[in-house]
Symmetry: D2
Subunit: 336 residues, 4 copies
């Protein structure tokens, strides 16, 4: 028994998702591959041994030989395509963000609530990354006591010159917001954003440091440095009442040469989170097969929360003051 | 297009292989599951959503709806089952060792040579472990210069009281022999074995230290300590002309508690080599689909070599002197 | 040629300083040991092979057989004793803080400025800690580019129940303020302080997180968690335009036991900064011998700055808003 | 009360020892500095603020204003100068080796035994290195159980082309022999030596691997690689019945740059063992002051043992077989 998947969008992430389904998880068939750019679709299809191509995203969603939909097309197509999948009654895994506009996110939440069952998963894949899972477990099994703080560092090698601090908040920080919510199991109540005025790319692309407060009284720091130059480096430390847990930078070997011992950083997020993506997609295929929503993956509600926190953070940056975060009321559908 | 696999043997490793094929690689179907113990077979089959059970190992090999055979049954069944698969002309992945008796291994080599094509893969999965792959790469890309030494440490938590140094050599050390041959790309010329006379389990289960010499003049040390108590710990360091590369003990997080920072060891080899097993099985399924032997996996010849080195090592231990290693001549079939 | 030192104050730090002078640096003689508690003075003197005891702190400062003064008495005695040493024209090394009251600090600055030469060193010993020295060097030699951020973590095992966030700022954070100023070579322009509302000791002793901005546009975070429970742990990371440098938690060995690999934290700051204290005292004795102020040690001006930043931080905590930091004008005497 | 020291030999080590006594330990006065090369002596003296120079090594030993003798002159002068110090009844700290000739070492042992009190310390400074001290402690406090194995790695950046495997054994390996004896508290019973036939410097300078057996049945491996190229790197792991303890390569910081995280190796042994030398010299000065031999430092007997094991190892290398190690009987004077 296999899940017949329509993949919509064949950019970097779409191609990666296709490869994972074609090689690294059981139970999925890439039924049709869809992209406005047919040449791009053809290349991915060839690599994945799929024949069926399309450039009609809505069309493939409604095809009878399609069981589930994977969306990796541009951000502004996410909400309309998800709404289409919901009206077709089909499970959908959509790349993050659900939408940068939290009101748009709420439209998805409302549609799903109206349907009365959860079909949407947002691709916040870090929930499947082992270090974060261990942190969550350390809170659940009591080995850290209750959480007190969490420190998060998000560093990319380079961003384009036009990439602003605001874009760092709307594009990169939601990963942090989501995984902190996942690990801590609580919501943010306020955010204060600071931006450096220096750095290799000047003030525009200078790093952003956020301090978030939660309803449990915890402090969370998030640094987003999209011009860190030295490597793609994501790290976190969870501080609890009994101790702390920190993520190790994973490197399989150390090379000793030229009076140094060195370990390599990845150049971008894909090698770092390769296994998290695989586990996310495996979990999703399994949830489609069993017909019950994932216990780990991000829901539409989670997607809304991440975007709402990003909006408050953008406001804090532009107004240079602490912003209280006010979320809509969570529908019952999302209570676990 | 899927490979229909007959799994023979449902012990710990057989169950793991079944789960990997059922969940973590694409392209395989567990067509039939075979074990003398039908209850054990049934449990594995249920978990993997397979219906077809059997207790006739030779029978399933010759079934028309079976494309390839995976052998995880007791060691002494390996050779006869492989010979059956060869006579059926079907690819086979067999758990290590090929046989503890190098003469038996040669029977497989001869049968395969007679057939004129390579169908046998031996499950020395460490070849797919990332740290070893990086070491091999560091020799190939010149970043370490040529290899000079390799140090290898193999530690289990506990072995049964009856587990002798000789058994450590025949059961555990072949993993080391094979992966060193794989990384260095050369053969051993001599081995000298030493055994401690102390340890938690007394002289019988005391650790063994081997010094192997290669035809290139390299020195290789192998420690096998099956009663290391503190954890399952496999490590290696490759020393080259320009530097060295050492395997990091992989741990996703560090837990800081009670005046210590601690990282966990696995209790046995399965979590440590989980991804290596997955990549091995993926590579094997792919080689079956493409009809060409794996470039990474261990061949029947490799299986023979590991067992021959183990035999020389046992002789060195019992005669307390250096033993020259004399291999049969490698058939052309195995030259790359 | 030896420096005859009067030690004033025989508490924990005084006893440590005495031991360092008596054992671990050349060139110093403990001429007289002074404490209001004569029994305590006697114990330290005995350990250090000194005969001369006193309970008259001002008196020993003016003794002819005393070349230099080391002050480790209670915080509120620092300024009057330093002023006495200045009026005696004698070099003085005083434990931190110079005073918690920045106006008091300025009195020392003015007295020293009036004297026209620098005689005061404040015991901010972290300037002599190797990791911080390497960070400073990495900015000077260009290997990191210019500084962009610095993250600092200060964690103690336990504080008394009455120890508040404000006390964390006035007692612990000045170490961070001083060493960041030392590494970055710039001044802070503003500070925003946040306190968690949870933790093992309740809201009173909950951790404090500060975000400081510098005149160069850098962001500096300082976490002070005096109830971290798991160990004494001070860490820092300096982020520059070309990369980052992070402090390793120093541990000489790893112990592998019980399925874990563990490294020990110290229980307090003294083992962690043992060598920094030794190097500080060595540097101070050397500066007395050569008659020129230390190039590394903290001056009275540095002592003032640390206290002034702490005062602004306390204000930020109590008023829950960003506070601009306004320093007095630096006298020429302190320009290097 | 100060120890007036005559320093004999102003090469690299002599200059280091002079600097340590002049700066980093209390209680010593460099009374006279002696070297055949007066210019070299003058430079060291100037740096250490000493006036008195000499080129008469035996003469300074017998001077009345000299309390103790520190010998850092060429190896072949060690025994005659020590014998002179013994006849003068003065404590002596002599650089390693006592002598490369174990028979010569025994002459010192006999002279000291005849004197009836221990005056000789051999500069095997690793006994004062913190990681080795922790290993010894872990055996004493039971946290590792009894020792089963010890693995030792000794790597230099480069040796001269003429530096042979035999020289690696006589010059470098005695450090390993001594510190293993110190940690384990037992004697070696046999040694088997292997040399690689390849490496950056060809077979002559190829690495040597030794397997030593102890009277307690333990196995000890020692690798000496004097052309390791990548850095000065000394490491050890002690394996006990309950677990293992491994030495961390000490680095105060990690530098993240250019897609790598890197830590620096020292270029030679002096930065690595800087603190061990200081503690050794401090311990020696203290033992002179108290008139009782050090409980940690290596005795003349220890110096003999290290040289005797080196001789057996050279024989094993040249005869290509295991050599039993036969020590003289230990005089009562050295029993603790």
């Amino acid at each position: 028994m296999s899940v017949r998947v329509a993949l919509i969008g064949c950019g970097v992430m779409g191609a990666d998702h296709a490869r994972i389904l074609a090689e690294d998880v059981s139970g999925a068939v890439l039924q049709v591959i869809c992209d406005a750019d047919q040449e791009r679709a053809r290349q991915v299809a060839e690599h994945c041994d799929t024949k069926d191509l399309s450039d009609d995203a809505e069309g493939v969603i409604f095809r009878k030989d399609v069981d589930a939909v994977m969306i990796a097309s541009p951000d502004d197509t996410h909400v309309p395509l998800i709404l289409a999948a919901l009206s077709a009654g089909k499970p959908v895994l959509c790349e993050k963000p659900l939408s940068q506009d939290s009101m748009e996110c709420l439209r998805v939440v409302e549609a799903e609530t109206g349907l009365g069952r959860r079909l949407v998963t947002v691709g916040y894949m870090r929930r499947f990354d082992l270090p974060y899972a261990r942190m969550k477990l350390a809170l659940e099994d009591g080995s850290l006591g209750r959480a007190v703080m969490m420190h998060n560092f998000h560093r990319n090698v380079h961003a384009p010159p036009s990439f602003t601090g605001q874009m760092a908040i709307t594009n990169s920080a939601p990963h942090e917001f989501d995984v902190v919510r996942f690990v801590l199991g609580t919501e943010f109540s306020a955010v204060s954003v600071f931006q450096a005025k220096c750095g290799v790319s000047g003030p525009t692309g200078a790093p952003v440091v956020m301090i978030l407060e939660t309803y449990e009284g915890q402090l969370v720091t998030v640094e987003v440095n999209v011009n860190a130059v030295y490597g793609y480096d994501v790290r976190a430390e969870l501080v609890g009442e009994k101790g702390s847990m920190s993520m190790n930078v994973p490197s399989p070997v150390a090379l000793n040469r030229d009076l140094t011992s060195l370990e390599r950083f990845p150049a971008d997020w894909r090698p770092r989170f390769h296994e998290a993506y695989r586990l996310q997609n495996k979990d999703w295929i399994n949830s489609v097969l069993t017909g019950s929503p994932s216990k780990i993956g991000a829901s539409a509600w989670d997607g809304y929360c991440a975007s709402a926190v990003a909006e408050a953070s953008v406001q804090s940056l532009s107004e240079n003051r602490k912003i209280k975060i006010r979320l809509a009321e969570m529908p019952k559908l999302y209570r676990i």
